[in-house]
Symmetry: C2
DNA sequence: CTCATTAGTAACCATTTGGTAAAGTTTAAA
DNA sequence: TTTAAACTTTACCAAATGGTTACTAATGAG
């Protein structure tokens, strides 16, 4: 049985529910990135971007380190693990259903 | 390249970001379920549950049909597809990083 | 040292969210 | 036919979200 009440699932899924944050994660795949660079493509202020990054940080999806006066953000993809497990559990159900559908179709063809 | 701006991803991920809704989805795996039954375990009113179900419906994760005076909700797991694809793309990155980590460790052992 | 850059913080705002209560509306059942 | 169950709809509320501006702090460059 999968743990539904995992509070980190709340944080991860709702962090992923925002297109700006998903785009930031995509940017971060290229490597460590400063807040300014993360903010720029979305036409939002630095303060706004900082809020998004805080959400991603609380979800464990990114970490930062301070280099001089810039804050370098780094992707922490291991945090997706719980989300992946949850989704896979549901995907399994989906495949079962698809199997039953296929079976049903085969039975119809037998008529 | 994966589509970041997929608005259905917004709906699906943020729908999954609530523990009550994830629990409802889990309940729905057992089969079609009435709104009252979905509401009961969470100690919320029917009206509150209806809002959650509306969120799940807008995300495409459930559908309903009316039978008599009860509304039967049904799981629609195909809606998880886009979310799965997005996550798998990031998981791939994670595995790459794990591979580099392993490589780095091997190189350290070679010293 | 000074000054421009860059990040952090605080206060504010509109909208959404997750919940409520209360008043309908259907429909099953006594 | 009356009653009660199972929703629906509406109005409301507090808190969180996603954004802003303005101010402060740190730091890198000249």
């Amino acid at each position: 049985m999968v743990q539904f009440n995992n509070p980190s699932l709340d944080l991860v899924f709702s962090a992923l529910g925002d297109p700006t944050r998903r785009a930031m994660l995509a940017t971060l795949r290229a490597g460590e990135t400063s807040m300014g660079v993360l903010a720029e493509p979305h036409g939002i202020t630095l303060a706004g971007a900082a809020k998004h990054i805080e959400v991603l940080t609380r979800a464990g999806l990114v970490t930062h380190r301070k280099v001089g006066r810039t804050r370098l953000c780094r992707l922490e993809p291991g945090a997706l693990k719980s989300a992946t497990e949850w989704i896979q559990w549901h995907e399994a159900f989906w495949h079962e259903r698809m199997d039953s559908l296929e079976q049903a179709l085969e039975e119809m063809q037998d008529d």
